[in-house]
């Protein structure tokens, strides 16, 4: 196994500098909202600025103590995204009279606290490998929860993915994303030799043995199950994509991708034929501007497109557009709201932030020395990329719109919580990747199990 040598420097001061930049983005955005919508700078504004600064610094100091070699770019990137999201949600609250802002602040605090907890108590990501099969069980339980009568929140916007916990609603699927990644990473890092070496070779394709296909089939069934029973096309694509990229990285076998894509094509086509909600979604994507769909099925996406077109190259500016005319503007459609008010230029910057975050995740994967860490980091980083693609692609009508959250931007507690935990895990892995070799404690004998470099 190779790893890329990085000069072993903590770079925490770099992070602090970038963090100040990121904080100013979020706080200035909030200030612009207040200015442009004629709101006074009341105590709320200063409290919020203080909270965001406090939360970011708390993570920063946790890293100084517990993971001082962690990648310095990741935290500022996430803080900037979260800050922009909070500003936009606040801006939409003002026009719609909604109160998603305070909830988002609460969840941001909870999520950051969870991230700090993970960084503080999880001293080495390889510990998670012990929980491979527990993670599988937890994933299954989490995915089934929305279907259990009593805690199920029922059908929300066409999908059964919510549960009710007292006054809060929660999307357990978001957390399942993490536990599934842990399971796949653990399972694949342990079994990759077997999967790699056994099986028939047909031409350039090394086909897996039928028994090794088991997990693939399970993952496929889980994805299809999510689609069939919860009507959640986005999560279904996300889970399956997550598994595909991890098995590919574990085996370097293109054949797995081909089998996966074939299964997906079959599943997708069958779903299109069988389930009216899937076919309706596809049709309203292709024929979005048809009078038949424009007022109803494709209303949301078309209104989003009109908003983005209205923003154009430079955007209308915070508070100057009318993003509130798009349904679900502060969650599913927040990209359209940002596109309208910040313009093409602003949205490019936001997507660059995501690309940067994903790039740093991949960099951690390249640098870390154990297969489990590599797989987990790739899985988590790729899940961000895929999630961005599915939701932003859906909003811009590149692909059919499905209800995935936009990481860190969209209003929604479960998504924030899950994504901050993912960031904590990537930070932890990046710390392992960048730490000088001799400092690396090995809680298990992972290293000897690694197969030579492929």
């Amino acid at each position: 196994m190779s790893q890329l040598a990085t000069v072993a420097k903590p770079r925490r001061n770099t992070e602090l500098l970038l963090l100040l930049l990121a904080l100013s983005v979020g706080i200035m955005a909030n200030a612009l909202v207040n200015l442009n919508l004629g709101r006074t700078f009341d105590n709320d504004f200063y409290t919020q600025a203080a909270i965001l600064t406090g939360l970011s610094l708390a993570v920063h100091f946790t890293l100084r103590f517990r993971a001082k070699y962690a990648d310095p770019v990741i935290l500022p990137t996430v803080v900037a995204l979260n800050g922009i999201g909070l500003a936009m949600i606040h801006r939409l609250d003002i026009t719609t009279g909604d109160s998603a802002g305070p909830r988002q602040w609460l969840w941001t605090s909870l999520a950051v606290a969870a991230a700090i907890t993970v960084i503080w108590f999880l001293k080495d990501h390889r510990i998670l490998r012990r929980y491979t099969y527990i993670s599988l069980v937890v994933s299954v339980v989490l995915l089934l929860m929305p279907l259990v009568p009593g805690i199920s929140a029922g059908d929300v916007n066409g999908a059964m993915v919510w549960i009710k916990l007292g006054p809060f609603t929660f999307q357990p699927g978001e957390i399942a994303k993490i536990t599934l990644a842990i399971f796949f990473a653990g399972y694949l890092s342990s079994n990759r030799d077997l999967i790699l070496l056994a099986g028939k070779k047909i031409g350039p394709l090394q086909l897996p043995r039928a028994r090794d296909l088991g997990p693939m089939i399970v993952a496929w069934l889980a994805s299809v199950g999510v689609l069939v029973f919860q009507h959640d096309l986005g999560s279904s694509i996300l889970f399956f994509g997550l598994f595909m990229v991890m098995i590919y990285v574990a085996t370097s076998r293109i054949s797995w991708i081909l089998i996966g894509l074939a299964l997906m094509a079959v599943g997708g086509f069958a779903a299109y034929q069988i389930f009216p909600h899937v076919s309706r979604r596809i049709d309203s994507w292709i024929y979005a501007f048809n009078p038949e769909y424009i007022a109803d099925a494709s209303f949301q996406v078309v209104q989003g497109l009109f908003g983005m077109a209205n923003g154009g190259l430079l955007g209308t500016g915070f508070g100057q557009g009318s993003p509130e005319t798009v349904p679900l503007a502060n969650s599913d459609m927040i990209i359209a709201a940002l596109g309208e008010e910040l313009g093409l230029v602003g949205l490019f910057a936001v997507i660059c932030l995501y690309a940067l975050l994903v790039a740093r995740g991949f960099r951690a994967a390249l640098g870390t020395r154990d297969a489990f860490g590599k797989l987990l980091a790739v899985g988590l980083a790729f899940s961000f990329a895929l999630q961005c693609f599915v939701i932003i692609g859906g909003v811009t009508r590149l692909i059919p719109l499905t209800g995935l959250t936009t990481p860190f931007l969209a209003a929604g507690g479960s998504s924030l919580l899950a994504n901050w935990i993912i960031v904590a895990l990537i930070l932890r892995i990046s710390d392992a990747a960048r730490r000088p070799l001799d400092l690396s404690p090995s809680p298990s004998n992972e290293q000897q199990k690694e197969v030579p470099t492929l």
Partner: protein, 484 residues
């Protein structure tokens, strides 16, 4: 393993690249198309409260945006709305958009390409964005005079235009209504106003204009038969036409009677001069039967019938000949040739036809927008006379003019005469049954150097009333425009 990670990274970056592409399309390359999408109400919603440019007649605003002290910063206001409703139309949040307000919206709202530099400078100076102003070719006095000529209770229209430029000098229709009722920001008030207005017979909120309403043109259509006859080469100015009192068709009981109110019955054959002076029916029916439906249709099209693409700049409703699909049988063609049956024309179309004859066969594109200006009065565009089509040859136009002069001098349009000016004219009475007619006059003056075309229609009146409301009024309008 690291190679696979790098490959996955390429996949991830490809996904982001696709997103950059789709966002660039939505917000830049395809943005204009999305903004112009008819289902896109964003620009529209925004402009209800914005400072739209005024519509001006003789320098005075007939439509303007006035500042309010509500959240919605500007309110559209129409001055003299009854006089101009058929031109301005209205810009309503709750009842839609119509007329110039709709057709000139990009300029009035300041979103057109013409307004691009204006937008930039407004962005830099921080001034309140204001749309472009639109000055009309309308003459306020003529417009008022024409409007007052239509008695209450008659759904008439009058069009006055310059045959050499196509500029519309006046265009009025009755019954009219107060467009301010539509522009209100009070949804309930607009709703009840719409309900009230639609109860009034003759009011069509989205079509009460001289370029939207169609009427049977009756005898004024005979000018087109005449042009077709001369153009065919089968007839010349000295041709003798059959003029039976009743035209019968082989194998049918239907007969087409000649015009009852002139001297038509005095002779069984007629020259063009006689047939036009007395507006006889059968000579023109026989021309149409001789030349065939296609020749008449072709000539009608050359005068602007069946043209669905004309905008002044608002879309003009196409006038129709023969008005129904497929081939006409002989009686139907005969009736169509005298502007009856399913033939329908807007008053504007009749004015355009007349203007083409007046202008040596050259039909100019009618228009009512003189200039478009920025708020600081820089001219963005101004009316350039544009030839629409050659409707007939200069020789034929001159010949028809001669005959139209004799219709006024010696014929049934004598009341259109103006002392000291040669007037060319043609009347029409399209029979609607029950003794009611569409009474028409169309003509121009001076015949030797045409300055003004007047077309008048007074629908659903008896013959005597029709005669009173058409030719004498045309005479007054000629006088007013020519300052005689």
């Amino acid at each position: 393993m690291n190679q696979a990670i790098r490959n996955s990274w390429i996949v991830a970056i490809t996904l982001f690249a696709l997103l950059f592409g789709s966002i660039s399309y939505v917000q830049f390359f395809g943005a204009d198309a999305l903004n112009a999408n008819p289902s896109n109400t964003r620009q529209l919603l925004k402009s209800f409260c914005s400072n739209r440019g005024p519509i001006l007649v003789d320098g005075q605003p007939i439509a303007e945006s006035v500042a309010t002290d509500t959240d919605c910063k500007y309110q559209r206001k129409y001055n003299d709305p009854l006089l101009y409703a058929g031109l301005t139309g209205f810009f309503s949040k709750y009842a839609g958009q119509y007329g110039l307000e709709a057709a000139m919206n990009p300029d009035l709202a300041g979103t057109s390409n013409d307004a691009f530099f204006e937008r930039i400078s407004q962005a830099f100076t921080g001034s309140v964005p204001q749309g472009l102003s639109v000055e009309l070719t309308i003459d306020k006095n003529i417009q008022k005079m024409a409007y007052d000529m239509i008695p209450d209770g008659v759904a008439g229209s009058i069009v006055v235009m310059n045959p050499k430029t196509g500029a519309i000098i006046a265009m009025v229709s009755k019954p009219s209504y107060d467009t301010n009722l539509m522009a209100s920001h009070d949804k309930a008030a607009v709703g009840s106003a719409v309900a009230e207005l639609t109860k009034i017979p003759g009011i069509n909120l989205y079509g009460s204009s001289a370029y939207k309403q169609v009427y049977a043109p009756g005898s004024v259509f005979k000018l087109i038969d005449t042009a077709a006859a001369l153009e065919s080469g089968k007839y010349n100015k000295d041709s003798v036409l059959p003029n039976p009192a009743n035209m019968s068709f082989p194998g049918m009981t239907y007969t087409l009677p000649n015009y009852a109110y002139g001297k038509c019955y005095t002779q069984t054959e007629a020259s063009f001069t006689f047939a036009l002076e007395n507006s006889c029916n059968t000579p023109f029916a026989s021309i149409a039967l001789d030349l065939g439906q296609d020749a008449i249709t072709a000539q009608a099209n050359k005068f602007g019938f069946n043209d669905k693409s004309l905008g002044i700049p608002d879309q003009v409703v196409a006038s129709r000949f023969p008005g129904s699909q497929g081939a006409l049988d002989a009686p139907a063609l005969a009736q169509s040739a005298i502007g009856q049956l399913n033939v329908q024309a807007t008053p504007l179309q009749i004015a355009m036809m007349t203007a083409a004859i007046a202008n040596g066969g050259k039909q100019m594109k009618p228009n009512m927008v003189q200039t478009v200006r920025t708020p600081d009065l820089k001219t963005v565009s101004s009316l350039v006379p544009e030839e629409l089509r050659q409707s007939t040859t200069p020789e034929i136009a001159a010949q028809i003019t001669d005959w139209m002069v004799s219709v006024v001098d010696n014929g049934i349009a004598s009341q259109a005469a103006v002392p000291g000016v040669k007037v060319a004219g043609k009347t029409g009475t399209a029979e609607l049954g029950d003794g009611l007619n569409n009474a028409w006059f169309t003509g121009f003056a001076p015949a030797n150097d045409p300055q003004v075309v007047v077309s008048i229609v007074m629908p659903k009146v008896d013959v005597a009333t029709g005669a009173q409301l058409t030719s004498p009024n045309a005479s007054k309008l000629f006088k007013a425009v020519l300052n005689k």
